[in-house]
């Protein structure tokens, strides 16, 4: 017992000077990629024991605000910064795509395991124009399914969220009425529905309320065994969200990837593409003080090479090879 204590004391004595020299990077932002980011920072700490990366998952909006005010070394967001916001920043902020995820329509219908929906139908449901499960538009997509003659209880996020951004960005693309009446943002003026706080809040309401329909992240639906619908994509094919179908959506977008990576891949072309997919980005200044640019660059190189191999286990899709190569060139410009 005593010798153990001594050992600890000695260890602490030796660790103290090392801790003083340890470099730290602080980041804040999106909650959606938090599981993979914390895994990466943990693994990278094993590779580089003298570097500690802290990440607070406070939300994309908070991440954008904090990186703009330079209170953190890097930010993270699920929705790209607008031109207007970038204009206000002193310095140039790069969007570095890291992984991809998807948002799925989760529902609670007894004995129906494979519901099919389309973009315009989803938009009309969330606009309050389609109010019952037996609506002809839904019935047409689900010909051999016995839909309940009941009202649809619509559930959405009550807190601002990158998940919401991705979902309404898709609705805006497939429905002119949605674009005009509601629009795209991390929080919107919902025409109908109940609000649940967080993925768990929406999932809870959907699970509890018979005949409910909401939207949550794919990983969340998978982990909690919640039924989610397949969605008709731009090519007219019904696709269920999976790592393959998300990657297919990213592949379609990779051909016309803009240089600043601020691209929305919802409603992507391609037969196998899942239409409600999104990149998630790290926000990093092109010029950093105190040698932090080199440290960040080191981490990003590792993320593109070793880090990408860890995504599938956590339900995220890795970057397509062409995008990976492109990002590899971009990060070399970080100072």
């Amino acid at each position: 017992m005593n010798s153990t204590l001594n050992l600890i004391a000695v260890a602490v004595l030796f660790a103290a000077p090392a801790a003083a020299q340890m470099k730290t990077l602080n980041g804040a932002g999106a909650t959606f990629p938090y599981p993979i980011y914390s895994k990466w920072f943990d693994e990278y700490h094993k590779v580089k024991p003298d570097l500690q990366i802290n990440y607070q998952s406070i939300g994309s909006g908070g991440g954008i605000r904090q990186i703009t005010e330079r209170t953190v070394d890097f930010g993270a967001t699920d929705g790209p910064m607008t031109n207007q916001r970038q204009f206000k920043v002193d310095g140039k902020i790069l969007h570095i795509p890291t992984v991809l995820g998807a948002v799925v329509p989760a529902y609670n219908l007894k004995d129906i395991a494979d519901l099919r929906l389309s973009g315009p139908v989803l938009a009309d449901i969330f606009l309050g124009k389609i109010t019952r499960w037996t609506d002809p538009a839904i019935a047409k997509l689900n010909e051999n399914v016995k839909l309940p003659d009941a009202a649809i209880t619509v559930v959405h996020r009550s807190d601002g969220s990158g998940t919401t951004y991705c979902f309404v960005d898709y609705l805006s693309k497939v429905s002119a009425e949605w674009k005009k009446k509601v629009g795209t943002n991390t929080a919107v003026n919902w025409p109908v529905g109940l609000g649940g706080k967080g993925n768990e809040g929406v999932a809870g309401l959907v699970k509890q309320t018979p005949n409910a329909l909401g939207y949550i992240e794919l990983i969340y639906a998978k982990q909690n065994d919640i039924f989610y619908a397949s969605v008709q994509n731009k090519a007219g094919k019904l696709v269920k969200a999976s790592i393959e179908s998300i990657t297919a959506a990213a592949d379609a977008a990779a051909k016309s990837m803009p240089k600043d990576y601020r691209v929305s891949i919802t409603d992507a072309a391609g037969e196998g593409a899942y239409p409600i997919s999104t990149f998630t980005w790290l926000l990093i200044y092109e010029r950093n003080g105190e040698g932090k640019g080199q440290v960040l660059k080191g981490f990003l190189r590792w993320m593109l090479k070793d880090g990408q191999g860890m995504t599938n286990a956590l339900g995220y899709a890795p970057l397509p090879a062409s995008v990976n190569a492109m990002v590899g060139k971009t990060i070399e410009g970080i100072q």
Binding site: I58, G59, S60, G61, G62, I64, R65, G79, T82, R85, T153, S158, D159, G160, S161, G162, V182, G183, T184, N185, T186, A187, V188, N189, W190, G193, L194, G195, G196, K197, G201, G204, L205, Q208, T209
Partner: protein, 300 residues
Amino acid sequence: MVTAVFDRARRVPGSRERAGDLLFRLTISGVAGIILLAAGALAWQLARESASTWKSFGLAFLWTSTWDPVSDVFGVLPFLYGTAVSSLLALLIAVPLGVGAAIFLTELAPKRLADILMFAIELLAAVPSVILGLMGIFILVPGMRALGAPYGVGMLTAGLILAFMVLPYITTITREVLLTVPRPLKEAMYALGGTRWEVVRGVSLPYARSGIVGAVFLSLGRALGETMAVTMVIGNTPKISASLLAPGYSMAAVIANELAEAASDAHLSALVAIGLTLMVVTIVVNGAARLMLYRLGSRK
């Protein structure tokens, strides 16, 4: 006589005040000053951060009901309505229950039982609100749905959770003031042939009135500001509905929900403006309580 001496000592610091006294007086005034300073700084900061909202919407912010973060149009009315209605519902349920329980504890219950019950009530007051919210989600919401509410979540559910939360306050404080009712007063009433009910109604309650009013306003203050438990069961829909079973929203809940992801400056400013509104509402409620207690006190 004694007060006069104290008054003089306070007014004339002069030569007789020792250095230690002076130091003590300055320290204590400083501590008291910090409270004022903090409250003032809070109000100033809220006003400053929300200035752009007041500039673009004016006082109409208070009575318009659109909340659209996409086109940056904001109005606080549905949230104000939700906060007010859910809190009043809570009082409507909790006041009769709490006062009734307090009367039972002081006048009717055997001492052993009263001690056990008081312990349980004080325990209830210590339950964190997020736990009450969970209870709401897992028990109250399905229960309400089983009773015929369309969603389960909604204004009435929020009112019930809030009632549950403020009940211990009302019970404890009312019991404390009922215990201060002088025995001779009650005994005089009994001597006149009064029944227990007549003693409670004619002596105890009038005597304890100002204390009970104080308890009610303290509870109202708590209900107005409650965030976590409310957002978990109110439905988070910024609409004003005639039905109490319909979902609503509250001021504290929308701030907690949207602040982290508020990307545009106008959205952020509008959320702070809600904070300022909430602060003004609670100050008005507390002021009204003071005024009422003062009136009741001077009438006695």
